[in-house]
């Protein structure tokens, strides 16, 4: 027999001088890492089960715990990393597809970190957001091509339905099922308080959350889970999910263990069954089909709600976006390859798609070259980590951004990337009642509000420094960006000059 030897990735370090054997770690760990050994009166740890979620560390009253890399090593090899070797062992043993969650963690370039912002000096004044108005209000939707006037010459409001945001940040799609009831409750309340939107993802809308409809984007994905007339009309906008940055080309994955009674009712699928959405929408094999679905949804909602089409950033994204802009969609959401997920095949998450920065720049430029940038708004996501990323995204050409991972971090997520296990210690990516209740929706909502408010303050500071006092004057304003350490090709795709130019 060949032993399936996989050594623990992390080591639980317990300072015995500090440990009072209060057994809080044991209670808090959903993975059963910590156990109490009665004979010796000490705590033990089974590190093979540890996912490094920090729940025990955060709750240890005497700071007796820390989690460190185990340091176990194979003979060093620049080609075969420990992870590559162990994944082969896993697959040789199970014959299965490797699953992962959250965004692509590999060491690809992060272009946000290679872009620098401008500030005013002498030739024009910076504007002080503490003392002058600084506007972040954002509208998403089509711009009219022509004005029209009534008989008396007054302008007629011929704007198509759109979304109004107090700040250019929305919570991106995370389904009920992949995340908990309490997490959804927190997102919905925060969206309402902030004057922005959260997104149901493809899991339908729980009956308790219809009251947040004005701040809800309802998603229609290939599985059509939980989609019905009331659902479509409950939200402020409808989003067609074609693809997701974490897993372009395939549909959503929700393990059966997460399909509990309430989730099953909301999704309208049997309890305990895996929910694997079809890879494509089987009524969308082409752009002309997308056009029909966009208008079907508009019909179903009485032409009162904008339609968003969400796609993963893939190689041909500029042409795809151009097609979407001509499909009748009001908003395009582009999700970069770093975008998060509750479960995705590892190989797909880590190898498919392109960075949002390049995709966004290419799409914005292409739509302008075709003269149709006014036909659609652009939401960029996957991944936006800070207010600086938001400002850079808008300067590259986005109207607004989606945040997913950052929102979950605000709710307590520690990025242990184990969502697919359904045992989220922080009560977010789980349906186990004892874990779900760990997340207090009120507190969660407050932390989301704090985060977005803090970012908005920072956005205003950066805009003011650039001498810009309204967010629309930042949109697509690439002169406010400079590249650092980028080659000519990268600069030309991003449409920015190098620092010093």
């Amino acid at each position: 027999m060949i032993p399936n030897e996989i050594y623990a990735e992390f080591e639980v370090v317990r300072n015995l001088d500090r440990c009072t054997v209060c057994r809080v770690c044991e209670k808090q760990c959903p993975n059963g890492v910590h156990t109490f050994q009665a004979e010796k009166g000490v705590m033990l740890a089974d590190e093979t089960k540890c996912v490094n979620c920090h729940r025990c560390v955060a709750f240890c009253p005497t700071r007796a715990l820390k989690i460190v890399p185990s340091g176990h090593t194979f003979r060093p090899n620049a080609n075969w990393s420990r992870q590559s070797i162990e994944e082969v062992y896993r697959q040789a043993s199970s014959g299965g597809v490797l699953l992962s969650s959250m965004g692509n963690p590999c060491s690809y370039p992060v272009y946000w970190d290679k872009l620098l912002l401008n500030a005013s000096q002498v030739t024009n004044p910076s504007i002080d957001p503490l003392r002058e108005p600084m506007e972040t209000r954002t509208f998403l939707g089509k711009k009219p091509q022509r004005i029209c006037r009534d008989a008396s010459g007054k302008l007629v409001d011929n704007m198509e339905p759109g979304l109004e945001l107090s700040t250019p940040i929305l919570f991106s799609a995370m389904s009920y099922g992949s995340i908990s009831y309490n997490a959804h409750a927190a997102l919905a309340r925060a969206a309402q308080e902030l004057g922005t939107y959260y997104n149901t993802g493809e899991g339908g809308l729980h009956e308790d959350f219809y009251c947040y409809g004005e701040n809800t984007i309802v998603q229609v994905a290939s599985g059509r889970f939980g989609v019905h007339r009331e659902y479509l009309n409950a939200g402020a906008a409808v989003e067609i999910k074609i693809g997701q940055g974490a897993k372009p080309g395939i549909g959503g994955h929700l393990p059966g263990s997460k399909i509990v009674a309430d989730v099953s009712r909301t999704r309208m699928i049997p309890e305990g069954s895996d929910a694997i959405s079809p890879a494509p929408h089987h009524d969308i094999y082409s752009l002309e089909d997308l056009h029909q679905l966009v208008y079907s949804l508009k019909e179903a909602t009485g032409y009162k709600k904008p339609v968003i089409v969400k796609v993963a950033a893939v190689h041909n994204i500029a042409a795809i976006a151009s097609g979407i802009a001509r499909s009748g969609a009001d908003v395009i959401a582009i999700d970069g390859f770093r975008g998060g997920t509750g479960a995705a095949p590892t190989r797909i998450r880590d190898n498919i798609g392109i960075p949002i920065e390049l995709a966004l720049a290419a799409v914005d430029q292409r739509l302008r070259e075709e003269g149709i940038r006014g036909e659609v708004s652009i939401i960029a996501g996957g991944s936006i980590r800070s207010s600086a990323d938001v400002v850079k995204a808008i300067a590259l050409g986005a109207d607004a951004v989606y945040i997913g991972t950052a929102a979950l971090l605000a709710l307590g997520c520690h990025l242990c990337r184990s969502c697919q296990s359904g045992k989220c210690a922080w009560g977010i990516a789980t349906q186990k009642p004892e874990l779900v209740k760990r997340l207090n929706p009120e507190e969660g909502a407050q932390r989301l509000v704090n985060l977005v408010n803090a970012w908005t303050h920072e956005i205003k500071e950066m805009m003011g420094g650039m001498g810009i006092n309204s967010i629309e004057a930042l949109r697509g304003n690439r002169l406010m960006l400079r590249g650092i350490g980028l080659n000519e090709r990268e600069l030309s795709i991003l449409g920015v000059s190098h620092a010093g130019e």
């Binding site: 030739t123 001498g467 810009i468 629309e472 004057a473 002169l479």
Partner: protein, 368 residues
């Protein structure tokens, strides 16, 4: 060193304008004397003027003022003009030698009408046809730059102090109902004639003082509609934006002003319902046309002139009246220098346009 058009160059400036509501012609030397007072706001790297009502004898023709780098450029330019226009008259623009102005390009003037069959084939209205031809020459014919293209108006500009530019072009020999002037303080340019102000498209001309922070957002938006911002200057993009909003979208001047210098959302919230709806619509529909950062601009057009400050009023601008004459300038001294006794002097508020037009009975053939 890269010249203007290859690199974006911020600059500070002085502006001045005179408008005769009665239509009574004002001699060009008055505007020269006005802008000369603000000598210190320029640095000798650009000055210019726009005059309206100066070509009554050719008032129905488009007056093209063109810079050519050399004779070959002129041949290329004239070949294009001959293919697209009926040239009614052509001549060098008269200049006189001024020691401080040198390296002048060839400066020609053409009075033209679109060739009727070309115009018909293009399926464009006449003004759009002319605008597209001008953009085409400026972006594709090397060494040629049509810097003035309106009817019964003309732009005169050069590298130099504005008072020297006025002398160079013999502006005292022209008179018109409206004049605008500009003195430039660019930061690092060797100076290029095409980069001086005013910037004009058809009968719209813009002189501008400021450095707008929304430049690239505005440029990239307006370029969707066929404009090409070759000079990379604020003034150029502002001129195109007004051309788009006024001529192509058909907004009124007030509406266009509320797009480019839109009131803040909380100001809009305080307006009566009707006004609120209109201002909200304009901000939403033309959000990428909002200009931020400091500017004071004079927009000249057939039969009128508009003065506008950015919404925070980050650049000085003073307006005044004396009888039928309206004055506006970066500094009050530039007005007092030519009209010491004024009926009224005021500082227009940020974002609030001051619009003057010819009195009804003097509007002549102005379009509605």
């Amino acid at each position: 060193m890269l010249k203007e058009g290859q690199i974006r160059i911020p600059s500070g400036c002085a502006i001045s304008g005179i408008f005769s509501r009665s239509g009574k012609p004002v001699c060009g030397d008055r505007i020269v004397r006005s802008i000369a007072v603000m000598h210190d706001r320029s640095n000798g790297l650009g000055g210019g003027f726009a005059g309206y009502g100066i070509y009554p004898e050719y008032k129905d023709c488009y007056a093209f003022h063109v810079f050519y780098d050399d004779v070959e450029a002129r041949q290329r330019g004239e070949q294009f003009l001959e293919r697209h226009f009926d040239i009614v008259n052509l001549s060098r623009i008269p200049t006189r030698k001024v020691p401080s102005i040198s390296n002048e390009p060839l400066i020609w003037r053409y009075f033209v009408n679109p060739l009727p069959h070309k115009l018909a084939d293009s399926q464009l209205d006449e003004r759009e046809y002319v605008a597209r031809c001008v953009i085409r020459v400026n972006s594709t014919i090397e060494g040629a730059c049509i810097f003035s293209s309106g009817k019964n108006m003309g732009v005169f500009k050069a590298v130099g102090y504005p008072e020297d530019v006025g002398e160079f072009y013999r502006l005292e020999e022209y008179s018109g109902y409206c004049w605008t002037a500009h003195g430039r303080y660019p930061t690092n340019t060797p100076g290029w004639w095409g980069g001086a102000h005013p910037f004009a498209m058809l009968d719209y001309s813009v002189v501008h003082n400021g450095e707008i922070s929304s430049y690239d957002a505005n440029r990239r938006y307006v370029e969707m509609f066929g404009y090409r911002c070759n000079l990379l200057t604020d003034t150029e993009v502002i001129a195109y934006m007004f051309d788009y909003l006024l001529r192509r979208q058909g907004l009124t001047l007030e509406e266009a002003a509320h797009v480019v210098a839109a009131p803040f959302w909380d100001t809009i919230a305080r307006q009566p319902e009707e006004t609120k709806k209109e201002l909200t619509y304009l901000r939403k529909a033309f959000s990428s046309m909002l200009i931020t950062g400091p500017f004071s601009i004079l927009l000249g057009f057939e039969g009128g002139m508009m003065a506008l400050n950015d919404r925070l009023k980050l650049r000085s601008m003073v307006a005044a009246e004396k009888g039928d004459l309206f004055y506006v300038a970066s500094e009050e001294c530039a007005i007092r220098a030519i009209e010491p006794e004024l009926d009224r002097v005021w500082s227009p508020r940020g974002g609030e346009p001051v619009i003057v037009r010819l009195n009804e009975n003097n509007r002549g053939e102005e379009q509605p």
